[in-house]
Each structure stands twice: as structure tokens, then as C-alpha cells.
Amino acid sequence: MKLLLADPDRDFLKAYQTLLSLEGHTVTVCFEGTETVKTAAAEAFDAVILSAVLPRVPCADIISLLQEKRIPSVVLTRRKISAALLLNTPLANAYLPFPFLPEELLSLLQRVSDLAGSGETFPVGDARIDVSGFCIAGTSVRLTAGEIEVLQSLSAGSLTAQERLSPYMNALNQKFALAGKSVRATYQNREGYRLVTSI
């Protein structure tokens, strides 16, 4: 993959440029926002990995630009994954909180890339999920890779009890409501999360 890696920490840039290159990716690095915007606008990348805080340009502006160009983005953040983060606008395709292990970034990058290239859609109650578009089909409500994966598991059956899923479920329910859909993810005691359609 041709990747753009943007982070203000040069040591981080160097380490992950090397690591991603060892994985066979072509990596361009930027350490501040203006340069990132220029590079992303000028070249075609398969994905962009960027820090949530870059000098000079807000992260949201860069994500908007990447969405326009339909380039998947992975945002590296110091914040924890929460419903509020997943309800951000504009929304990146994935968020990865610091500190993380190399395999976590590599795995996430691969999953985002796979979803972006899948071209598939699948139904969830009265909604349809546009996987490669990272959104609820027919609406402007965007989803992250994590949310899509949760929905894929839910539509295949129920999800076991995992409290870490709570931010995703809360965010998804609000997004379904925003999209005017009646499907909701709820927890059934001792059965796990399930999709239900409210009347």
C-alpha cells in the first residue's frame, strides 16, 4: 500500500516508516499539518495514518479532505475510544489510541483497507450498511471500521458480553436514530448484544 504517515514526533515517524516499509508498504512521512494537506492533495494514497494533533492544521480539516478524495484515514489519538469520539464529525475511518503495539496498527490498517476495498453492503434491520463507503447507505451518517465490524458480528448473530463494546453500541444507536432507522443494538441478559427493531 502507498501510505501517508503524519505525526509531529520525528522518532515515531522514523520508527513506523521503517516498520511499515518492512511490511512492504511505501510510506511518505509528514510532521506538520500544512505539509500533510499538500501531500495528501497532490498524491494518491491508499490510506493515511495521522496524529489527532498536528501543528498548524486541525485534524478535522485533513479528515474532510481525505473523505473528499475517498482516502481511508486512521487517526492516532491520545483519547480513549468512547461514544463521543465515535460521534465526531468529520469521522475518520478508524481511531487507534496511544500507546499501541505495532501489530495493532498493522492489523487495523489491513482491516480498514479490506473494508474500503470490499464494495459490499449488508442489511442491519431496516438499515443497510455501505461497507466501502463507511456509512449507513443512503445517508450521510458515517461509521468507523470498528462499528462496521461490530455490526457484521451482530448481523451474524449475537455478540457475547464485552463491556468494551459499550461505546460502539451507544454510538451506533445514536447514529441509527440520526439516520431515521429503527434498528437498535441492545443487551439481552446472559445472551449478549442483539439487533432489535423498535416499533
Binding site: D9, D11, F12, A15, Y16, T18, L19, L22, R78, K80, I81, S82, A83, A84, L85, L87, F98, P99, F100, L101, P102, T160, A161, Q162, E163, R164, L165, S166, P167, M169, N170, A171, N173, Q174, T186, Y187, N189, R190, G192, Y193
Partner: protein
């Protein structure tokens, strides 16, 4: 720190209250005791004069029987040089016979008679029945607030003398009123002064506490990227040169540090961010968390029971609430003996989350459960840093909720109300 400041103000206020009450109580107590003593001297004088104060040649009382060792009674022997402790108002005043308002009633087996009646506030019939009601009382005392009475024997009959001390007691009541007002004023001034002093006194400590929290938060944030970088570089070295003992050690230590930093960041400090608030299904979260922890309870030989009402919603930072519930569960698993109980319900418009477990802690020993870096008596040999419940308190407080913990009859109960 605010708690310490409030405690300081409360205890200081209590001290001021006790001191002022004691001081003013003694002053007023002595004052009223002296008033009672003066009144008793007058009733004694009347009793010694057969139930009636007699008019003397100079307008002073002349007792029928002079006081032993003196040619005259104390009431008249002093003239100008003896006006009593309070001048003309006291029982030693030469004006006593003109100012005292009283009546005396004598009783024998079937007959009662009004021996003296020098009062306008009551009529004679009322005086007799009033005196009769006092026959069963103590020898002397107060009646109808401002009247002093004496029950005594007069010529073989029972006599009751009642004197009106209303006018004489007025200054005492004024002093009492002034004392109460003074105490209230004193308490208000003390409260304002103490609050000011507490603010001055505790501000540096609050600032230090705030800086400590900020430092922990900054440290947690600052460690995140370096740890990620160290780990990435270790991975690069291993890929280029193959794994070694050294890179393995770095890798293990970095993973340990990542875990520590995550714990430090999540538990040592909680700073509420309204932007992170969203509506969450607390029922789902509690149920999911309890189900996920079922195996831990089984491994710990603890029977878990729960009552989770459906549809309980809360607007909060869901990640923080998730950690809060995880802490409650962790606490029950670590410190429960055989039983743990969780409940979630909506009560009078409030969300009430309760977690309880049987415990070896003695009753009333949970006061410090929420203090940072504090571990209770039963934490010996159990892993942890004493941050979990402090985190719970921080989260609950940030949502204007209330949290309490107590140990009663061997059950540790924590109740959270949002």
C-alpha cells in the same frame, strides 16, 4: 481538599458554638439563678411576716419577729447605704413593700383564706385556685413563667405565697435575648471568618492537589508516544537482527509500562469533559459487564446475584462509566467472601446503582474507602493501589451524583445515585 476545608470549618464552627453557648449559658444561668434567689428571699421574708409584708414607719417593712442577732430585719436596717445588689429593684431595697406584687393563701383541712392580696394581674378566686394547684409542688419554684411561689407552714396551716417577678425578670430576659442574638451574630461572623481563613489555608494545598493531578495526566499522556516508539524500534531491531534476550526484555518491560500507564491514566485521575457525554444505556452496560465478569466470580467462589432494571439511561462519558462499573466488579471479586449483589434501578427520578458483598471488615470501617491511595484493612495481600474507588468517586462527583460506602452486619455496600 474541599472535604478537608469543609471539615476544618465545621469543627471550628462547632468549637465556637460550644464555647459561646457555654459562656453565654453560664452568664444567663447565673443571672436567672440570682433572680430566683432574690425572689426566694422575698417569699422567705413574706413567710416570716405571717404571709404579708407589713408597712413600716418610713415606708419600709417591719417584721413581726426581728432576725436573730439584729435589731431590725435586713429589709429595713440599711437605709440609704443598703440598697441591695441592684439598688431599689432588689429584695434588700427599702422600696420593696411598694413594689412587690404578691398574694398569700392559707389552707387548713377544709378552708382556704386569702391572707394577703397585693396584685392586680389576677383576681382573688383565681389566686386561691392557683395557690391550691401549687400545694403539690416543690417548696419553691417558678409558676406561669414569671411568678415565684413558696409553700410553707404558717401557724400550723399550709400557706402559699406567689409573687410577680415579671418586671424584675425583664432585664434578665433582655440579657438572654441579647445573648442569643450575640451568639447568632458571633456564629455568622465566625463562619465568614473561618471560611475566609480556610480558603487562604487550603488554597495552596488545593493548588498542589490540582498540580499533582495535572502532572499525573500529563505524565500519562507524555508516556504514550515514547512507549509506542520504543516498542516499534524494538520490533524493528528484532526483525532486522532476530529476537534476542535484550529485545525480549525491552518488549516485556514496555508492555508492562503500557499497562501501568493505562492504569495510571484511567484511575489516578478523572477529569470530566462534557464533550464526551452521550446518552448511554446503563442497563445494557451493567448487564454486559456482569455477564463478562461471571467467570471471575465463579473462580473466586463468589455467588453473584443481580437485579438490573431494563431501560435505565444515563448521560455521561460511557468509557468512564464502563470503568466505574469495572471497578465495582473488581472490588466485589477481590474483597467479597462468598456473596456479591448488584442492582440497578430508577428511583424517584434518580438512577441508583448498588454493589454489595460480604466482607471481613468490621462495621463502620468504610469511611476512607474513597480516599486516593488508601486501602482498607482487608486489602493486605490483594493487588491494587487504592485508586479504584477514588476513581469511582471522581466520576460520580463529576456527574453531580452521590456515592456512599458502609459496612453493616458483615456486608460492604456501595450505593451510587445519579
Amino acid at each position: 481538599m474541599k472535604k478537608a476545608s469543609k471539615k476544618f470549618t465545621l469543627y471550628a464552627m462547632l468549637s465556637v458554638f460550644v464555647l459561646l453557648t457555654l459562656l453565654l449559658g453560664i452568664i444567663n444561668g447565673v443571672n436567672f439563678t440570682m433572680a430566683a434567689s432574690d425572689a426566694d428571699r422575698i417569699t422567705q421574708m413574706i413567710s416570716e411576716q405571717n404571709g404579708a409584708l407589713r408597712q413600716g414607719p418610713e415606708g419600709m417593712q417591719i417584721p413581726e419577729t426581728p432576725v436573730e442577732g439584729s435589731a431590725q430585719s435586713p429589709a429595713w436596717n440599711a437605709g440609704e447605704k443598703n440598697r441591695g445588689r441592684f439598688g431599689r429593684q432588689g429584695p434588700d431595697s427599702p422600696e420593696l413593700t411598694k413594689t412587690v406584687r404578691y398574694f398569700t393563701v392559707t389552707f387548713d383541712a377544709s378552708f382556704s383564706s386569702l391572707t394577703a392580696f397585693e396584685i392586680s394581674a389576677v383576681d382573688q378566686n383565681e389566686a386561691v385556685s392557683w395557690a391550691q394547684s401549687l400545694l403539690t409542688q416543690q417548696e419553691t419554684g417558678w409558676t406561669r413563667s414569671t411568678y415565684r411561689y413558696r409553700v410553707y407552714t404558717l401557724n400550723g396551716k399550709t400557706a402559699v405565697t406567689v409573687i410577680d417577678q415579671g418586671r424584675e425578670l425583664t432585664p434578665s430576659y433582655r440579657i438572654l435575648l441579647i445573648s442569643v442574638c450575640g451568639e447568632l451574630l458571633g456564629l455568622i461572623v465566625s463562619f465568614l471568618t473561618l471560611r475566609f481563613v480556610a480558603q487562604k489555608l487550603f488554597r495552596p494545598l488545593e493548588e498542589a492537589d490540582r498540580k499533582q493531578k495535572r502532572f499525573i495526566a500529563d505524565a500519562e499522556s507524555a508516556f504514550k508516544v515514547p512507549l509506542t516508539v520504543i516498542n516499534a524500534n524494538t520490533e524493528i531491531i528484532e526483525r532486522e537482527n532476530g529476537p534476542s534476550e535484550q529485545t525480549g526484555a525491552i518488549d516485556r518491560q514496555v508492555k508492562k509500562m503500557i499497562s501501568l500507564v493505562k492504569e495510571l491514566g484511567s484511575l489516578a485521575i478523572y477529569e470530566d469533559d462534557a464533550a464526551m457525554h452521550t446518552e448511554i444505556s446503563l442497563s445494557d452496560l451493567v448487564s454486559a459487564s456482569l455477564d463478562a465478569a461471571a467467570t471471575r466470580f465463579i473462580q473466586a467462589d463468589i455467588t453473584l446475584t443481580s437485579e438490573v432494571a431494563p431501560g435505565v439511561m444515563l448521560t455521561a462519558d460511557d468509557a468512564a462509566i464502563g470503568k466505574l462499573i469495572a471497578q465495582l466488579i473488581d472490588n466485589a471479586v477481590k474483597f467479597g467472601k462468598t456473596q456479591a449483589f448488584f442492582s440497578l434501578k430508577q428511583e424517584n427520578g434518580h438512577v441508583v446503582l448498588t454493589a454489595s458483598n460480604d466482607t471481613a471488615l468490621p462495621d463502620g470501617s468504610a469511611d476512607q474507602a474513597f480516599d486516593r491511595f488508601t486501602r482498607l484493612q482487608n486489602a493486605n495481600g490483594v493487588s491494587g493501589a487504592g485508586l479504584g474507588l477514588a476513581y469511582v468517586k471522581d466520576v460520580v462527583k463529576s456527574l453531580n451524583g452521590r456515592v456512599s460506602a458502609n459496612v453493616s452486619d458483615g456486608i460492604f455496600t456501595m450505593c451510587i445515585r445519579f
